[in-house]
């Protein structure tokens, strides 16, 4: 896997596309955590998830990319927008979105990024994965889910049911706890 890997620079065509999508994802993620408007944060989250779905496509994980578009962009962001609406958030810019310890938070985040990037670059500098289309299509993924991973799949369906019932119980007001 690492024997005839090309050099790190210049990047090939798919790598350039992936790096551009990654830059879009990282930039919009930065806007998510720094913007002063709640609704804009949710919309930048859409951009970030969309760029990540494009990155999955470049990495030949097609099925994961479409699931990402369907569930994250389609469902999770809509849920978050519902939450913003139901908590009566102000539409315009609001001042108190950042807490007072944001400099400590920035310090921790920069330290995390430095440690992670250093470790990862040292560990995987020579790793090279040749891209072959068709590895992540729906057919091989479905075959391996329903053959090898069928028990976690069923456990996950029970988890989803439990989360559904839990959300209903939490959000109904006429169900009282035991006195």
């Amino acid at each position: 896997m690492t024997s005839q890997a090309p050099g790190l620079w210049p990047p090939s065509g798919p790598e350039v596309v992936f790096l551009l999508l990654g830059a879009v994802a990282v930039g919009s993620a930065l806007l998510v955590v720094t913007t002063r408007q709640l609704v804009h944060a949710a919309l930048w989250l859409v951009v970030c998830f969309g760029a990540l779905a494009g990155g999955y496509l470049v990495l030949t994980a097609e099925f994961v990319a479409w699931v990402q578009v369907l569930i994250y962009v389609g469902a999770v962001v809509v849920l978050l927008l519902f939450g913003i609406m139901l908590t009566r958030a102000p539409i315009g810019p609001s001042a108190g979105l950042d807490s007072g310890n944001r400099w400590a938070a920035a310090l921790v985040a920069v330290a995390t990024a430095a440690v992670l990037v250093t470790v990862v670059v040292t560990g995987f500098r020579t790793a090279y994965a040749p891209l072959r289309p068709g590895q992540g299509a729906a057919e091989p993924l479905g075959a391996s889910i329903f053959r090898t991973w069928v028990l976690p799949f069923e456990a996950l369906s029970v988890l989803l049911l439990a989360a559904l019932i839990g959300a209903i119980v939490l959000s109904r007001t006429d169900i009282r706890g035991r006195e």
Binding site: C48, F49, F63, A89, V110, A113, L156, L160, A167
Partner: protein, 117 residues
């Protein structure tokens, strides 16, 4: 595709999520930052699955599982945030400092729970 590129992007996304969780006050923004961190993990899983060419597709299947768990998590998290908003009229996580309800004893009038272990 060099493995370094997706892995570095995912490390940056994860630390941005860490910053968001630590610095934001609105509970919904904290949930969004948690979603960013989960997405960083997903990108890592897909990149290593492509690199190792797993015959069972463990990385991509685990990515699908993480996406499902994230959907369940955000649903439950929003239900909790809405319940907190109903009782406290705020979703500001800095102001939610009470760890228990203050129960007043019926006759003495001072807060119960000082002697409770």
């Amino acid at each position: 595709m060099h493995v370094v590129y997706p892995v570095v992007v995912s490390a940056l996304l994860f630390s941005i999520g860490v910053y968001g969780v630590l610095a934001r006050r609105n509970a919904i923004l904290v949930l969004m930052s948690v979603e960013l961190m989960l997405n960083a993990v997903n990108l890592n899983l897909v990149a290593f699955d492509v690199w190792l060419r797993d015959r069972l597709h463990g990385g991509q299947v685990l990515t699908l599982f993480v996406i499902v768990i994230a959907a369940a998590e955000v649903g439950l998290g929003l239900a909790i945030v809405l319940a907190v908003f109903r009782t406290r009229r705020t979703v500001d996580v800095d102001r939610l400092r009470a760890l228990a309800e203050v129960v007043r004893a019926p006759d003495s009038g001072r807060p119960d729970g000082e002697g409770a272990s």
